[in-house]
């Protein structure tokens, strides 16, 4: 399904959080946040450090449980699902610290992410080895195509921990595509990345949304937000304080006070 990388992803359900709150020992990290993320568009989350942006991602991804509120995907309820279940429903996450599998090669990092592989159950490598091997070949081809897509084709056999930070980000995004994520949660995709790679990352994001993916990203770099985002939410002190079109929001007084401090 990923072989043809130019194919559009259709029927992406809407991801929505409703009155979502999370308290840590009485302190709100996310407080009564309600957002419906427009499918097949790029939404940016901006705001100062500690505003609750990453916590919101952790809540959506199932890594922490909300104190109250709900997380919905289309008509389905994600609120109590486990992280791996949420990932399988097509919500992929790029971590701020990337989290590639350091000892695995770049290619292996991607191949492992394909869902439902024959050979993942421990008896299959013994009793269905032929079938397992047969399925592996097209998977490797798809993985190589994905590597090419993210401009890492020449690094296929490099151990992931030896890639640069920016290359690891590209790899992590390719991994999300391999798991067939339709909604991508990207935590600071542009930070810590070499300027040359930054262009690749930004280019990749716009190509992905052209294909019909939904992208939600956290970003501090305002020019990246202005260039990519279709819609922006500003979080400050655990709440949504402003939202709208990037131009309007960035020039809004509330945003400037909350975020830019100017």
């Amino acid at each position: 399904m990923n072989m043809d990388l130019s194919r559009r992803t259709d029927n992406v359900p809407t991801l929505e959080v409703k009155h979502l709150s999370r308290f840590f020992g009485g302190v709100a990290a996310v407080n009564n946040v309600s957002i419906a993320f427009t499918p097949q568009r790029i939404t940016a989350l901006i705001g100062p450090n500690g505003a609750g942006k990453t916590t919101l991602f952790n809540l959506i991804g199932g890594y922490i449980a909300p104190t109250s509120g709900a997380i919905l995907l289309g008509t389905g309820d994600l609120t109590t699902r486990k992280p791996w279940e949420i990932a399988r429903l097509g919500i992929g996450r790029l971590f701020q610290d990337v989290r590639v599998f350091g000892k695995l090669t770049t290619l292996e990092n991607i191949v492992v992410a394909f869902p439902n592989q024959v050979g993942e159950m421990f008896w299959q490598p013994i009793f269905q080895r032929a079938q397992m091997m047969k399925m592996e070949r097209p998977n490797i081809e798809r993985a190589q195509a994905l590597l090419e897509f993210v401009t890492l084709a020449d690094k296929a056999n490099t151990v992931a921990e030896n890639l640069s930070f920016g290359q690891q980000k590209l790899l992590a995004i390719a991994r999300l595509l391999a798991m067939d994520a339709k909604i991508l949660l990207l935590d600071e995709p542009a930070s810590g990345v070499h300027p040359a790679v930054l262009d690749s990352v930004m280019d990749l994001m716009s190509r992905l949304v052209d294909q019909g993916k939904t992208i939600i990203f956290i970003e501090h770099n305002i020019s990246v937000v202005l260039e990519l985002a279709h819609w922006v939410y500003v979080l400050d002190d655990s709440e949504v304080v402003a939202f709208g079109l990037p131009d309007e929001v960035i020039h809004d007084r509330v945003t400037r006070e909350a975020y830019l401090g100017v």
Partner: protein
């Protein structure tokens, strides 16, 4: 000659133990300090089935695998949900409890008196009671184990285990259920360790709890830390070195009263130096980095 055969039998048994621990520790990144407990469970389960119920060795062996795997869930299901060191503590507790039961439930296990008179394994009338026949038995099982661990790790299953070892959160993020894979890996390790226990009982024809202590669990970890883990050859290198080394020391005529202590100090020194300077061990791929 018999002496050499004895060493070969012990290498076979320890290969089974270390390769099974390799699955848990080297591939999945779980530090289990109760591997000797599963070794003991295998030995006691087979022995009791053979001596009390007259079950054939090979049937008892299979039963002991099942029992050991079922008991592994007692530790893994509750503790694997928690952070890493809680699993270490849980396995430590399990090790101490299993040893306590083997040692103290005298009406069931004969406790410190041990169980003598264990029958030698027999298959279709052939009895494995000579050292040479036993070498073929343990070698066959060791090869089966190495083959089994190789097959299941050189696969999609093995690849998922490695992602859990590398970064469990990222593994969840690509849609793998770590609890399922960790529980499976731990159960398989426990089942294979039971094979080693059964073979040990059938070979020595006498068992007591002192073979299955926490010190034995730590010794198995030492073998993997020295030889290396996360691939097939690391545990083989470690096992051969650590099983043969005592014999080398004996050859050097170090008196028996101090030999065990000197041996353990050498192990300890190797362990410390390797964990600092070469965490992957002599031939391994992974070392808790």
């Amino acid at each position: 000659m018999n002496y050499l055969l004895h060493i070969l039998v012990m290498i076979g048994i320890y290969l089974i133990l270390t390769q099974s621990l390799n699955l848990v520790m080297g591939y999945t990144g779980l530090l289990s300090v109760c591997h000797a407990a599963f070794y003991g469970i295998g030995a006691y389960a087979s022995t009791l089935l053979m001596t009390s119920w007259g079950v054939n060795f090979f049937v008892a062996l299979i039963a002991s695998i099942v029992i050991s795997m079922l008991l592994s869930f007692v530790v893994s299901i509750p503790t694997l949900r928690l952070r890493g060191d809680y699993f270490v503590l849980g396995t430590l507790g399990f090790q101490a409890i299993i040893f306590g039961i083997m040692y103290n439930w005298i009406s069931f296990t004969r406790g410190p008196y041990g169980i003598p008179g264990i029958p030698s394994p027999s298959l279709f009338g052939f009895v494995f009671d000579s050292p040479s026949s036993y070498v073929s038995l343990t070698t066959a099982f060791a090869l089966l184990t190495v083959g089994f661990v190789y097959l299941i790790t050189s696969s999609q299953f093995g690849r998922v285990l490695k992602t859990i070892r590398e970064d469990e959160i990222a593994s969840q993020a690509i849609g793998k259920d770590p609890l399922f894979f960790k529980t499976t890996s731990f159960a398989l390790g426990a089942g294979v360790a039971a094979i080693a226990g059964s073979l040990y009982a059938g070979y020595m024809r006498y068992i007591d709890p002192t073979s299955f202590t926490i010190a034995e669990s730590l010794f198995l970890i030492t073998i993997l830390a020295i030889g290396g883990s996360g691939n097939i050859k690391g545990p083989i290198v470690g096992t051969v070195i650590l099983v043969v080394l005592p014999e080398v020391l004996r050859f050097l005529q170090i008196p028996d009263t101090v030999a065990p202590n000197i041996r353990m100090m050498l192990y300890a020194l190797a362990l410390i130096l390797l964990v600092i300077y070469r965490p992957r061990g002599l031939a391994g791929e992974y070392g808790f980095e």
